[in-house]
Symmetry: C2
Subunit: 130 residues, 2 copies
Amino acid sequence: MKFDDKIPIYYQIKTHLYHEMLTGKLKPGEKLPAVRQLAVDLTVNVNTVQRALTEMMTEKAIISQRGKGNFVTADQAQLAKLKEQLVMAQLAQVYEQLHGLNLTDTEIIASLQRYIEKREAQPDVKSIND
Amino acid sequence: MKFDDKIPIYYQIKTHLYHEMLTGKLKPGEKLPAVRQLAVDLTVNVNTVQRALTEMMTEKAIISQRGKGNFVTADQAQLAKLKEQLVMAQLAQVYEQLHGLNLTDTEIIASLQRYIEKREAQPDVKSIND
DNA sequence: CCTAGTGTTCTATTTAACTATTACACTATA
DNA sequence: TATAGTGTAATAGTTAAATAGAACACTAGG
């Protein structure tokens, strides 16, 4: 996996795992790969994986069982809540940034639509993500 | 100034200065505060400021003149270009994140509108930024 | 020419993230 | 009860960001 060197790896691992959970690649109650396996898959150290997982336990996203494994919470309401939080945090970030650049609400929405249109015109990028 | 400990300070300083330039607090051709003064204002080390500025020179956002000071580029087209790049980079980031969470284009725009509406309903936050 | 104000560079140190390695604790099962 | 698979923790070493402090290079003005 490729990491952004501007953000701590353990934090990017959290984000990665949240994506897997929230897109259904990892289902509610499902067992995650073993920490050592995750470390291999992500080409990082076990401790770095562990740090990410420890925070996710605190956030009630996963439940850890010593000797058994780490499991995605089976609480669907909790998952939905986490997803909402993630989406809102993302939106807040851009919104505040663009608002700080003196763009009005209307302009912000318009520029997002403009971005999406532009993006549609680039089959290369689009095909990767669709 | 308060920094996000997830992102290098020098990088946040760049972002900060770009905001000042692109919102007109620092006008085209205008002289920036001296590096030592900026370090005091931002409560960071001179070297950290310098690192941010060095990158901004590479990006043709500012022009440095030894013995005189650092100046915002007077090239308005260049500034407009930088602003567009900044806005698009921001939008790309959220879009890809949300799209990665399986939100459709329509849902992404809708959730942004929802965020803005929610935000309007919170006079505390709003008053700070308007 | 001197001095104050500026950008630039360098060395040394500290701190946090990350890595490598090992050990310990618990579970299931043969 | 032994063993393999799992999570957890601790130690030590590496690296990059940031700091502190000093020095160097250039400009403007008295």
